[in-house]
Amino acid sequence: MKNKGALSRLWSFAEYGSFREEEFTLSPSDERHIDTDTPENRWLTTVQNSERSVGARAASWFSRRGVEIFQRLYRVAAVFICFTLIGVLLAVVAFLPPFGGADNPAVNEVPERYVAGAVEETGATNAVAGMISAYRGFDTLGEAHVLFVAACSVMALLRIDGPARRHGCLPDPEMTGEDMDFEPNSDLILRKAAKILVPLSFIFGLYVILNGTSSPGGGFSGGALMGAGVILNSVAFGFSRTERFFGERVYHIVKTACLTVYALLMAYFIYMGANGIYDHVWLGVPGGIVSGGLILPINIAVGFEVACTMYCFYALFRKGGL
């Protein structure tokens, strides 16, 4: 039935969020007014007008104009709700405790103990590392798996499983004409700069990861630096050069190893802690490289996992595969 009532159109708007195309085209019965001013047509129009009752005409008008009006109202309502939400949230900010105030509710025994006891209890001079990897380690385990599930989803969406691509050889870009088959443009300046920057970013990333227990940084930031190094390498020297040391196989091995080691360490830590068993973890010398007990291996695992995820995102979006 083509001539749906206005209500059913509004319903379909609520259902689909937008009107489907065929619902926009008005049925012939809606367009009975006739422009050509011949006597015959004029007679026809008069007859039709007298045939159709006032109610039917109102309904036909509503089904023509009502949808438009509804759509306009919808937009107005959307803007109105948006601004109301902004206004309410701004008002809330005005009522919140002042930023950084000493009497804030957030200044209580929890951060006090983190600041005062982190070095002694976790062995990490960087209290933030102690907090995220030891005190609230379970949350961070979940956070690392958020990255993993995101990488897996992107892989499910963007990886192209062609027979040629599966064996690691790219098809001829001139033949396919696909943008993703072209090697990244290796500009001379870029290559020269990358030769210096890539090793630097690897070393700096490793430094940030290893010193995560005693200085700002840790697995997440160091891993991002290393991932940026791998991306820069593939931008400057091409995917084939990157694949020599970082292909899909390496990606899977590193990622699985890191996450498994992380989960096992965390499970050991939680199991021992919960059951009140002494866990035999040497906390190390606070401030040194080997300090913080399990935080150092956790940082290393998280770092490599983050680096893998970063490059995985880049490679999947760029060429649909690692």
Binding site: W11, A14, E15, Y16, G17, V88, L89, A91, V92, F95, L96, P97, N104, P105, A106, V107, N108, E109, V110, R113, Y114, E121, A134, Y135, R136, G137, F138, D139, L141, G142, E143, H145, V146, F148, V149, A150, C152, S153, A156, L157, R159, D161, H252, K255, T256, L259, T260, A263, L264, M266, A267, F269, I270, Y271, M272, G273, A274, N275, G276, D279
Partner: protein
């Protein structure tokens, strides 16, 4: 400490690891790994349930060396254990009920990712059930969001991509609102642990300081979780996502994922704000009204569908409405009804979606009402399961759905007069509407000629899943009283 107390934590952490391993194995191996591990989690959750029932109490499990406000902890009681047992069981049954569809609908190299997502989703559901900390809840809500979107997306077709995009946007909006709520709540209370926040909230409520932020926080969290669990005005993403995904995904999404968020909302209402504050802030009134609207409008919309899976999806919206009506009654009986409804719907809707998958198998992959005429005669098992599920949804006695309608009506009678009238009327109208759209489908699938299309030889997993679902449904209907008792005891232990 008894070893069984470690089981909840082991199920959460090693479900994550199981997902990691599934990502690097081939499809068949991943399937075996995932199903075996999930069956094991079911056994573990069941033993936790038996333990909590025997000790008749709940316990706190410290996640690490440090006690709660400093470290993380999870809380396990009869209600949580019951939910975890039901969810892991339904997860295994949904996966095995739609296994042939998973392998047919996903690209060959990406089947293993499906099981990765299923394992991670189970882990996040466990964490949402057991968590005692709002930030932990948020982290696992994130995993849940992404994994459930991926489950829709993995059936490779244009329609699922559009559905996933809408689902992702709406779901992230919900997460965002929830996160804003957590942040503001932390700002005004300085705590993330549920019990500590509850104390501070009572102070705020009695002194009146920060009362505007408190109201906004309750609103943000309720709206955020309502968007994610498809309460009526925010439901528009659901029919596309659930209607176009593969059979197992639809089953998991409508049976479990929606409920995960509602459990978080119940925890927030009960353990963070307390019923007194919730009633005083009038949030429950809104939830009640929208729940009633969902019950009616979801059913009316289901009536208009010509596509079986979309009809089931709209039916889910109506059923989520039942849960919110229970929450909105602001009485203990209402909460009990909501929890019973969560369980009953979790074991009924996956069965309906799996049998819809069975009908599609014997109707050339079509799912429109016209195409599935006589499908119940071609695939008798799916036909029987669909009939049982539909009768449960309508609310025939001795099936699971009757239990919830009874519990809801009892809750309504205990509530004030206006609520009682509206809720009872809505239950009656909704029941009639349910019958009006389910009974024609039952007639449809058993009518017509048998057709030339022969059913493929049923897989063992499929037969097992359908049989267990039917037995569970009847068992739920017969032992309603016992289940309700466990739920009531669990809610009492929830505190307040």
């Amino acid at each position: 400490m008894e070893f069984v107390r470690n089981f909840p934590f082991l199920t959460i952490v090693f479900s994550l690891t199981c997902g990691v391993f599934c990502a690097v194995t081939r499809g068949k191996t991943a399937k075996r790994l995932c199903v075996c591990w999930l069956t094991l989690t079911f056994a573990m959750s069941l033993s936790v349930l038996i333990y909590t029932l025997r000790t008749d109490g709940s316990f706190i499990y410290r996640m690490g060396k440090w006690n709660a406000p400093w470290g993380n902890e999870i809380r396990v009681g009869p209600l949580e254990a019951l939910m975890a047992t039901a969810f892991s069981g339904v997860m295994v049954l949904s996966l095995s009920g739609g296994m042939s569809h998973i392998f047919a609908d996903c690209e060959e190299g990406k089947v293993n990712i499906y099981f990765t997502m299923a394992a991670l989703l189970t882990s996040s559901l466990f964490a949402l059930i057991y968590t005692n900390d709002l930030f932990t809840a948020y982290v696992f809500v994130e995993i849940n969001t992404i994994a459930s979107c991926a489950l829709v997306m993995l059936k490779s077709s244009g329609r699922t991509l559009v559905a996933t995009t809408r689902y992702l946007i709406m779901s992230l909006l919900g997460s965002g609102l929830f996160l804003l709520g957590v942040v503001i709540l932390y700002g005004i209370t300085g705590e993330l642990l549920m019990e500590s926040i509850a104390e501070k909230v009572q102070d705020i409520f009695s002194t009146g300081e920060y009362s505007l932020p408190l109201t906004v926080v309750i609103g943000l969290m309720s709206v955020g979780l309502a968007v994610k669990s498809a309460l009526f005005p925010f439901h528009s993403w659901l029919p596309d996502a659930h209607g176009s995904a593969t059979a197992s995904s639809s089953a998991i999404l409508s049976g479990l994922v929606l409920k995960g968020y509602i459990i978080v909302l119940i925890k927030i209402f009960y353990r963070v704000f307390g019923l007194r504050v919730i009633v005083a802030e009038r949030v429950s009134n809104f939830l009640f009204v929208y729940g009633i609207l969902a019950m009616i409008c979801g059913s009316v919309a289901a009536l208009r569908q010509v596509d079986l899976k979309r009809m089931l999806a709209y039916s889910s919206i109506a059923q989520v409405g039942y849960i919110y009506v229970g929450l909105g009654m602001h009485s203990e009986a209402g909460m009990v009804a909501a929890c019973v409804q969560i369980l009953a719907h979790a074991i009924t809707k996956p069965m309906l979606f799996c049998s819809a998958g069975g009908f599609m198998d014997v109707s050339g992959g079509q799912k429109s009402m016209a195409a599935i005429t006589g499908a119940g005669r071609r695939d008798k098992l799916a036909g029987a399961a669909f009939t049982v599920g539909a009768m449960s949804m309508i609310g025939i006695p001795f099936f699971a759905g009757f239990a919830t309608k009874l519990a809801l009506a009892q809750g309504a009678v205990g509530s004030d007069k206006i609520r009682m009238t509206i809720a009872l009327a809505a239950i009656v109208i909704s029941t009639v509407l349910n019958a009006v759209y389910y009974v024609p489908v039952i007639f449809n699938i058993f009518s017509g000629t048998e057709g030339s299309e022969k059913a493929p030889r049923p897989k063992v997993g499929y037969v097992f899943a359908m049989g267990t679902f039917m037995v569970l449904n009847v068992a739920f209907g017969l032992f309603t009283q016992q289940i309700t008792d466990v739920v009531r005891r669990g809610l009492q232990l929830f505190g307040m």
